[in-house]
């Protein structure tokens, strides 16, 4: 007995991946599994909100009450069916448009002789960096009508067009705005996949006598299928679970999707019902992911397959070239240039729907507080709240990106080193779980869990730490994915040879693994920074007045109809994200000169 113990102690000490795995299991069960179980538990017990609705209810007692209310009552239609159908409708419409758009663009840039490829490619992924609801803000500036309330948009003021309701709010604008954001995901995944396909595979097809269309259908398409599958799952789950855009463009006309319905319920303190809906979203996301894994699962290797990544002869566009370039430019102007110009312009307008030059003012940027304008809110550059929110957001982004990048790498290490074991699969799976949690419900749970002191953890209600914690946990799926990918790139013999030479683990990690994973590390950091900066639904319940973030500030200005401040703060957010992108890209490029691949 003693000897077995001694053996396992020696083994544990020599296998840091085991220690790490145990650490992750403990931390993850606390931060991911327990909240999830709490969510389920809440749906099965009476909450304080229910006491006045259900006769004889005892708080905390077991009940089917919530399930009954959501799935089989008079309220089912408005609570569940309508939001569900809206979510599905939005999700699938967005996915179809975004995937077609993204794939076509990817094809255009990877496989044809389109000019100024580099420039276009950089610009076309800008929507990926900026929050999806920025386009929604710009949309409102254009298509708003006065019937629903608020100011009138450009179209009705300038051109005296009576914008119909369906074009200014609800399903159509939500789908368009989301599609113009999510196409960038398909674009990135598809360009990656198209680049790795060895052109010889297609050339072999044409030598074998296949026509161009047949090559596309029988060779290229099956090879990019895994990338298409990933794009599909990513777009469908994210567009169904997104909050910002449906909130901006849906709530004014009471167009609810599941996330906005959950938000409305949580705001009304109706936790039980809202978590039932959250579980519905979770089940839908898991279904989409597992269907994808079933269909594509075995072919996943295609994506990682090595190709020369090089195509001798791109397809010649010929006469279509100038037309396509013109279309591209129009597209970019419409989805990036015009929205940003509109946002900027609106911040200089004293009256939000007066587009004359005499109406221009710098008040909303540099003006002192005037009680008549914007409820006395001082200009953005003089506004302490904005300054604090900016600092908070940047602090959140920087801290989360550093912590997440390290965690991702360590998760990657323990997953890859234990590859093939159940432990490895478990860690990978649990680290991915937060992906399917709807942000608002997740934060509601955290709010409940951490508002009182919990074991060794002090009460974190209203603190910045709680926001940081939840952002880190919610980003684990992405950072662990990129950590695993980075670790898989490092041949295991590189660390093994170091351990044989007697180099201790910390030194191995610092001198060998970390430098070799640097590019994955940096890109993981950038990804977390961007998502942390644009996080809205996840943090909206958790911010206190002194922990406000740029996004929550934008949202609260929006509810107060202070258009100029909304757009001004949004611009600040955009500038920070784009600056961070440039800085990190520069930093990463100068240092990743040497190839990570072996041999």
């Amino acid at each position: 007995m003693f000897k077995t113990l001694k053996f396992y102690r020696a083994k544990l000490r020599s296998k840091p991946e085991l220690i790490l795995s145990i650490f992750f299991i403990i931390v993850f069960s606390f931060l991911i599994v327990v909240p999830f179980l709490k969510m389920i538990h809440t749906t099965f017990t009476y909450q304080s909100y229910d006491l006045r609705l259900a006769r004889g209810a005892v708080q905390g007692a077991f009940t089917w009450f919530h399930y009954q209310r959501v799935f089989a009552s008079d309220l089912t239609k408005s609570f569940f069916i309508t939001p569900l159908l809206n979510s599905i409708g939005v999700g699938f419409s967005v996915t179809i448009i975004a995937m077609i758009l993204g794939s076509l663009l990817a094809w255009l840039f990877v496989r044809t002789d389109i000019p100024h490829r580099k420039f276009f490619q950089t610009v076309i992924v800008v929507p990926y960096m900026i929050p999806s609801w920025v386009i929604a803000l710009a949309w409102q500036l254009f298509f708003q009508n006065t019937r629903i309330g608020g100011q009138s948009g450009v179209l009705s003021t300038f051109f005296h067009i009576d914008v119909p309701d369906w074009l200014s709010y609800g399903f159509v604008p939500i789908v368009i705005c989301l599609a113009l954001h999510y196409y960038s995901y398909t674009f990135l995944l598809m360009s990656g996949a198209l680049q790795t396909i060895d052109s010889e595979l297609e050339e072999a097809g044409s030598i074998a006598g296949l026509k161009r269309r047949e090559i596309l259908r029988k060779i290229t398409f099956p090879l990019v299928l895994p990338a298409l599958g990933s794009s599909f799952v990513l777009t469908v789950t994210r567009s169904m679970g997104t909050f910002g855009t449906p909130a901006l463009l849906g709530l004014p006309v009471r167009f609810f999707t599941l996330p906005t319905q959950i938000y409305a319920m949580i705001n009304a303190r109706n936790m039980g019902d809202s978590f039932v809906l959250a579980l519905v979203l979770i089940v839908m996301a898991i279904t989409a992911i597992s269907i994808n894994n079933k269909i594509i699962g075995v072919r996943k290797s295609f994506v990682t397959m090595k190709g020369k990544g090089f195509r001798a002869k791109p397809m010649e566009l010929g006469k279509a070239k100038p037309v396509l370039v013109a279309l591209l430019i129009v597209f970019i102007i419409m989805i990036i240039v015009l929205p940003i110009i509109m946002l900027t312009w609106s911040t200089f307008m004293l009256l939000p729907d007066n587009y004359s030059f005499s109406n221009l003012t710098s008040h909303f940027w540099v003006g002192k507080s005037v009680a008549m304008i914007s409820s006395g809110e001082p200009g953005i550059f003089r506004n302490r709240g904005v300054l604090r929110a900016t600092l908070n957001s940047v602090k959140l982004g920087v801290l989360a990106s550093i912590v997440n990048a390290f965690l991702g790498l360590l998760i990657g290490y323990s997953v890859v080193k234990n590859r093939g074991t159940r432990l490895s699969k478990l860690i990978e799976g649990v680290a991915f779980a937060p992906y399917v949690f709807p942000g608002i419900a997740f934060s509601a749970i955290y709010l409940g869990m951490f508002s009182k002191s919990f074991g060794p953890i002090p009460a974190m209600y209203g603190t910045f730490s709680l926001i940081l914690l939840i952002v880190i946990v919610k980003n684990l799926p992405f950072s662990s994915r990129s950590g695993i990918a980075a670790m898989l790139q490092v041949d295991k013999s590189l660390e093994e040879t170091a351990s044989i030479q007697g180099i201790p683990w910390l030194k191995r990690f610092r001198l060998i693994i970390l430098p070799l994973c640097k590019s994955g590390f940096v890109s993981g950091m950038l990804l977390t920074f961007i998502t942390a900066m644009r996080e809205l639904s996840l943090v909206i319940l958790l911010v206190a007045p002194n922990t406000g973030l740029l996004t929550t500030m934008i949202f609260s200005y929006k509810t107060q109809e202070q258009t100029q401040h909304v757009n001004g703060v949004t611009l600040i957010l955009l500038v920070i994200i784009i600056l961070a992108n440039i800085i990190i890209k520069k930093f990463a490029n100068t240092k990743t000169g040497q190839s990570i691949n072996l041999g």
């Binding site: 020696a10 170091a498 351990s499």
Partner: protein
């Protein structure tokens, strides 16, 4: 005295035993090769010796010290085993230059920097890479990368070297060069070496002893000569030697008090050797390509002549494939041969050059 001892060492992946209870003593200073087809467990065995793979059961000793034993509660991690390991991929750290690749491990051993300097100098001289100190692995050719890996291993001055197919990524010419260098180096340093390869020529040329493995078990452990001349079973016979050993199915028969090996194509006189007592049952006769003598067939032995199926001259030797019925024989002749395709050839095999195997057990009969 044995330097490394494997006692009933087993490694299971799930229910599959990759290494199935092997016992092996590696003698101090010898060059021992683990030879076998891919998946036979040779690399797993080597990685268990290094500590990179944890055995499922069994014990492992070095210098009579326990390195691994579940019963005794001992697990010495690779960091503490003090051995050298050379990977098939060389495992050079791509972000460090040649010097740093060599010194990193030495620093961890708390060796003074002046000593490190002289060692780097020495080993780079030894592997003829003087002047390449500041190069990065990507700036070196495959052969040079290999030398760096070798230098790194030598510099640690451990007395056990483990090598996992170190030559298999090199092109044919370099491989032959490196073989002779490895052998010279082993002679010079005298480190106990365990070498893994699937290349039987490499095993024969380098080793003091060869361990032939298959399906996680040791099939035969012997000197190269014994492995080549007296394979203990069909597997070893077939695996070692190029061209592969000739195998003929047939029977032993007695005619006029003389024993013969006979099948449809061939009848061999076994005069002068003690033939196995397995008359009238199937048997497999094995003979090396260089042990067959050929001559143009004359009219009298036309009935036993073979047809020449192919002639493959390779400069120093020519391999001729002969065919008669279902029997095919490879013959190795030195230099170029005047034999033409489709010639008619008669053969002669000296009885003592023939080995017999039991077709069922595949074991050597004689």
């Amino acid at each position: 005295m044995s330097k490394i001892s494997l006692d009933n060492l087993t490694k299971k992946f799930g229910i599959v035993a990759a290494v199935d209870g092997i016992n092996l003593d590696v003698v101090e200073g010898e060059f021992l090769t683990l030879l076998g087809p891919s998946g036979c467990g040779k690399t797993t065995t080597l990685r268990m010796i290094a500590g990179l793979e944890e055995p499922t059961s069994g014990e492992l000793y070095s210098d009579e010290k326990v390195l691994f034993s579940k019963e005794k509660g001992v697990y010495v991690p690779p960091e503490m085993r003090n051995l050298g390991f050379m990977f098939q991929s060389y495992a050079l750290w791509p972000h460090m230059n040649v010097t740093r690749n060599i010194t990193l491990g030495l620093e961890s051993k708390k060796i003074p920097s002046s000593e490190i300097k002289t060692r780097v100098n020495d080993v780079l001289n030894k592997v003829q890479l003087k002047g390449y100190e500041d190069r990065f692995p990507s700036e070196l050719s495959g052969g040079q990368q290999q030398r760096v890996a070798l230098a790194r291993m030598i510099a640690a001055k451990s007395d056990i070297f483990l090598m996992d197919e170190p030559l298999s990524n090199l092109d044919a010419m370099l491989r032959i060069d490196m073989r002779s260098e490895l052998k010279h180096l082993h002679n010079e340093l005298g480190a106990t070496t365990v070498y893994v390869t699937h290349d039987q020529v490499e095993a024969l040329t380098l080793s003091d002893r060869i361990v032939v493995m298959n399906n996680g078990k040791i099939i035969q452990c012997d000197t190269p000569e014994a492995i080549y001349m007296n394979p203990q079973n069909l597997f070893v016979a077939k695996f070692v030697g190029s061209p592969p050993i000739n195998l003929m199915k047939g029977r032993i028969i007695k005619e006029n008090n003389n024993l013969f090996f006979k099948n449809k194509a061939i009848k061999l006189d076994l005069k002068g050797v003690v033939a196995p007592e397995t008359e009238s049952s199937d048997i497999i006769a094995a003979v090396r390509a260089e042990d067959i003598e050929v001559s143009p067939s004359s009219s009298e032995n036309q009935s036993e002549a073979f047809n020449v199926y192919s002639v493959l001259p390779a400069g120093s030797e020519t391999i001729i494939t002969l065919q008669r019925g279902e029997t095919e024989l490879a013959v190795k002749l030195s230099g170029f041969s005047s034999t033409k395709m489709n010639d008619s050839i008669s053969i002669k095999i000296r009885p003592e050059k023939i080995s017999f195997f039991n077709p069922e057990t595949e074991e050597l009969i004689r």
